[in-house]
Amino acid sequence: MTEAAIAVDSLEKSFPPARSGWRAFVQPFEKPTVVALSGVSFEVREGEALALVGANGAGKSTLLRILATLLLPSRGSARIAGHDAAREARAVRRRLGYHAGTDHGFYARLTGRENLRFFGRLNHLSSVAANLRIAQLAEQFQLGEMLDRQVRTLSSGTVQRLSLARALLHQPRVLLLDEPTRSLDAIAAMDFRRFLKKQILRRGDTSLLFASHTLPEVELLADRIAIIDKGRLIACDSLSALKHRTAAATLEDAFLRLTGRTPHSSQEDAPE
């Protein structure tokens, strides 16, 4: 049996309460009380795409950040290609491409190309390989002459594309994307989904775990969908199985039924 690309087992994460002023001094030593993830277990097979769907604050980003080695779990384990994210962080990072979902995270006074080259080289790409990958990804993401402009002069959509290119630079086996198309315009978002589907997922050697509020994106890209609510995994199945299980016509309906929300109460938080 082949090892799962991502294996999350009984994962729990709690944070200490946020403090300000002089109380901030005790925060790092306080007992965690805010539960972000509770008993989450699932696997992502090699070449599979799994979407994380949930309201804001459901725990999707926390889960991705634990897998990206940026947070430590309180209990349970998160493994990438058999390596524990908490204990074998370097081995995990070798296999990982991470996009944080923000349109910052670059050196504003360097050009897009300089930024990509820097991060590519830190991921142990040779200079030649980095330049080659940058050229490929620039074409793919239609960065063109934007690549040679300082990042501070770029629109947030372009920076988002740059950030996605950074996550793909070293051709990672596991991609973690947090709301990958959040700042993209409709056409750029469509192009990106098509790129992911045709160039990355169809190859069958890259696994994708992504969080998204855009349900058509989830339907297009995901082989299975994990629905998270208040830190708990309440379902993880294919789209058709989720619809069948909830007797729903759409993913949106399935989501609402599984989470027990009504359209009125979930207007602000639920996926679009």
């Binding site: 200490p16 430590l72 995270g105 504003a108 080289r121 991921n123």
Partner: protein, 271 residues
């Protein structure tokens, strides 16, 4: 090893590329150094006397003594500032977590971020000394450059541990640099920056002997103003290396611990 050096070079060239976008600031620093050097020269002319010169450990003018004290304190300042400033900038720009998910190790990220600031400080010191030698008779001809380079390296290593401790504090508590406040405060009085520690009361002299700045300045003045070789600076040099041997590994361990805490509390990117 070659990979590590290559990674360190990447950080240096990143910071150099960023610095090159601030060219006017670079020119202004050269002008600022001229005014700074002139100030010490005229203070020296105002207070210098044969009696004062006799009281200075290497003899010579008060201008040379105070200029070395001032510019090398800048080195300590840079050591204390560099790590937490790099960290704060990376956190605010959002690059910190992207650095931490690369395959480059934490010590290389920390050390790499400090190389350019140290190089820039060394350049700034060179500009001060060059102005001093060109316009105000600073005795550069007397220097033993090999020992100067060794003392600089030992100073950098000794002070870096304090800088990494500051960065650890910043990771956990988000604001402030108590190591810098303490060290600069202590060193301005008990470090031998503008006057020899021998004029201090006994209890302050004891404090000065616990301060790495005292040893760094002793060794630097001996190498730069009196041309001392290794036999003339071995004692302060050994103390500096001892400080480095204790502070560097312990500060890296504390930094790793602080980073781990932020991964538990989820406050890595909080400011």
């Amino acid at each position: 090893m070659i990979r590590v050096l290559r990674e360190l070079w990447l950080f240096f060239s990143r910071d150099l590329s960023i610095a090159r976008t601030y060219r006017i600031s670079f020119l202004l620093e050269i002008v600022e150094a001229l005014f700074g050097t002139a100030m010490f020269y005229y203070v020296g002319r105002f207070v210098d006397s044969p009696q004062l010169q006799q009281a200075l450990p290497q003899g010579g003018s008060y201008f040379a003594f105070s200029l070395v004290g001032f510019v090398f304190l800048d080195y300590m300042n840079a050591s204390l500032d560099t790590f937490d400033r790099s960290l704060e900038e990376a956190r605010n720009a959002g690059t910190l977590e992207h650095l931490l998910v690369t395959q480059t190790s934490l010590p290389v990220i920390v050390a790499g971020s400090a190389i350019y600031p140290f190089a820039a400080t060394t350049w700034r010191i060179a500009v001060y000394l060059a102005w001093g030698a060109l316009l105000f008779g600073f005795p550069l001809h007397a220097a033993n450059w090999l020992t100067v380079a060794v003392v600089l390296l030992a100073t950098l290593l000794a002070f870096s541990g304090l800088g990494i401790l500051s960065a650890s504090y910043l990771l956990i508590f988000k604001r402030g640099n108590p190591a810098k406040w303490f060290m600069l405060g202590l060193s301005s009085v008990a470090g031998g920056m503008l006057f020899p520690v021998s004029i201090l009361p006994d209890w302050l002299q004891i404090l000065a002997r616990l301060n790495p700045v005292t040893y760094a300045l002793d060794a630097m003045r001996a190498a730069l103003l009196a041309g001392a070789g290794f036999s003339g600076i071995w004692r302060p040099l050994a103390v500096l290396l001892l400080f480095a041997a204790v502070l560097l590994p312990s500060s890296m361990a504390i930094f790793a611990w602080a980073l781990r805490r932020t991964k538990i509390t989820g406050t890595l990117t909080h400011s």
